[in-house]
């Protein structure tokens, strides 16, 4: 029985390990200190966005467990729906302030383009996810939004594949594919923030 020679660097597993885990120091992922310049109210909005995301996922899961029409006939359901709505509103407020903050900080400096882009992708994915949430309310608002929005999607040729009037399709997208996609982008974004660190202040002279 001969021993097969293994080249670890060429295995898929070792390549993934080298491209991911080995890129990080433990204190980068779970830091207990920050650069001294990370001291401003604007930094609150990143973590506030994540906290609102947790709230809307939690309230959304509750609604998912009970079904799409439950909240019309249950007081508890209506309250959970309200929590979901206000979590979404807070999520977008925090995210937009976070985005503006990062713009004025020119936070893409120092090879942080991917961090900026994943943040933008999270914003776009949030808009699409939020939209599908609005068209699965199974009430008048959802009927009107679905019938009006179909024209935009149809004009782009997207309506042939994503039919806003097909409530079942929208429900499945809203509770499965879209939150998974958004969650993946958010995790990717946070990992990039941890890996690259928080962008330092703009130099005097504006470089």
């Amino acid at each position: 029985m001969s021993t097969q020679k293994v080249t670890p660097q060429r295995s898929w597993t070792s390549r993934v390990r080298m491209a991911t885990i080995e890129k990080f120091e433990p204190e980068d992922l779970l830091p207990d200190h920050q650069p001294a310049y990370v001291a401003s109210w604007i930094y609150i909005f990143g973590v506030a966005t994540l906290a609102a995301f947790v709230m809307l996922i939690a309230s959304g899961l509750y609604l998912t467990l009970e079904g799409p029409a439950w909240w019309h006939s249950s007081k508890v359901g209506h309250y959970v729906n309200s929590v979901h709505l206000w979590s979404v509103e807070l999520f977008f407020v925090f995210m937009v302030v976070h985005l503006w903050g990062k713009f004025w900080m020119a936070a893409w400096r120092g090879r942080r383009l991917a961090t900026w882009m994943t943040g933008c992708l999270a914003f776009f994915a949030s808009i699409i996810t939020g939209f599908t949430g609005y068209i699965i309310q199974t009430n008048f608002d959802s009927q009107w939004i679905a019938t009006q929005a179909k024209d935009g999607f149809n004009a782009m040729g997207i309506g042939a594949f994503f039919n806003t009037l097909n409530t079942g399709q929208a429900i499945l997208l809203h509770v499965s594919l879209l939150p998974l996609t958004l969650g993946f982008i958010v995790v990717w974004h946070v990992i990039l923030v941890r890996r690259k660190g928080v962008v330092p202040p703009i130099e005097e002279g504006g470089k």
Partner: protein, 314 residues
């Protein structure tokens, strides 16, 4: 804290002064605070829930609008009858320059409004009068059908109030019977079931009733206008009642309020394309020559990092 600002290289790992930080604690506190805020806002302001409209509510609340729209479906004059892809080939869809993406995607959700909204639901009725009207309709040529239906549709619209018109000379053919019968079905709620279960007995797809409802001349749009949801009311970003809606769609909504989009027959594809370009611009903002320099010209960062700058000078 006497580090010179000019020595900071944003691409290098920070090795300057640091402060204590607890990531887990910060996240937990954020969840508690934001969670409390969401729970409180929900308890105080609740959320809107305007009941969904049905064929039955339409027939009962706006019967004249219902019968006029039904006659319009048979005449092929409604929005959905002339929509084009993805529902049918009766319309051109929208263009941006020479490009027509809806045509390229094709008819993937085939709907013939006269058949889907009127004729097929009526086939479920056993009344001999309805069956004979259906038989007369199906045996006529498309030209004769169109003549009957458009003549009746015009007369109903001109009258404005009547739910059916006398036809002593027979110029409307079976159309008055078909329209009145569908109105009867809608009034009892039978049409709601017939439209939603035509493709599946356990429906989750409401394309047919919603397209039919969207053809309404007054009932559906008037309800929306009363809730400030119409396009000219920035309805895309509104919610029923006084609740906040998708306010993040303000820019998307803005284009529909101004020319050349406002009066363009291709407004939807123009606005969607423009938003696509702007979104790409936001994504690639760091490499855009002028916009990426704005944070340097308008020094909001001086406010954000004011403590750091002050200490550095000291």
């Amino acid at each position: 804290m006497n580090r010179k600002l000019s020595t900071i290289d944003p691409s290098k790992k920070w090795n300057g002064p640091v402060r204590e930080y607890d990531l887990i604690k910060e996240f937990v506190i954020a969840v508690v605070v934001v969670g409390f805020l969401a729970l409180t806002l929900a308890a105080v302001f609740s959320s809107p829930d305007e009941k969904a409209l049905t064929m039955q509510s339409w027939a009962k609340s706006a019967p004249a609008d219902f019968v006029q729209t039904t006659a319009g479906e048979l005449a092929g004059t409604t929005t959905s009858a002339n929509y084009g892809p993805p529902y049918n080939k009766n319309g051109e869809g929208q263009n941006i320059g020479p490009i027509n993406l809806s045509k390229a995607a094709g008819v993937r959700i085939p709907i013939n409004p006269a058949q889907s909204f009127v004729i097929e639901p009526l086939k479920s009725q056993s009344d001999s009068k309805i069956q004979s009207a259906l038989s007369m309709w199906s045996s006529a040529s498309a030209q004769v059908q169109a003549k009957w239906a458009s003549t009746y549709s015009d007369a109903l619209t001109k009258d404005g109030k009547s739910l059916s018109l006398e036809d002593p000379s027979g110029k409307y053919g079976p159309v008055p019977t078909l329209v009145t019968s569908l109105y009867g079905m809608a009034s009892t709620g039978a049409l709601d079931g017939a439209l939603t279960t035509s493709d599946s007995t356990l429906p989750t797809n409401f394309t047919k009733p919603l397209l039919f409802l969207a053809d309404s001349g007054s009932y559906f749009p008037d309800k929306a206008a009363a809730q400030h949801l119409s396009g000219d009311q920035w309805g895309v970003m509104n919610e029923t009642g006084s609740w906040p809606g998708q306010s993040w769609l303000w820019l998307y909504s803005l284009w529909y309020q101004i020319e050349p989009f406002k009066s363009s027959g291709n407004a939807d594809i123009l606005v969607m394309s423009l938003m696509g370009v702007l979104s790409l611009g936001l994504l690639l903002l760091p490499v855009l020559p002028v916009i990426s320099r704005i944070p340097y010209w308008i020094p909001v960062h001086r406010l954000i990092w004011r403590n750091w700058y002050r200490r550095s000078r000291e």
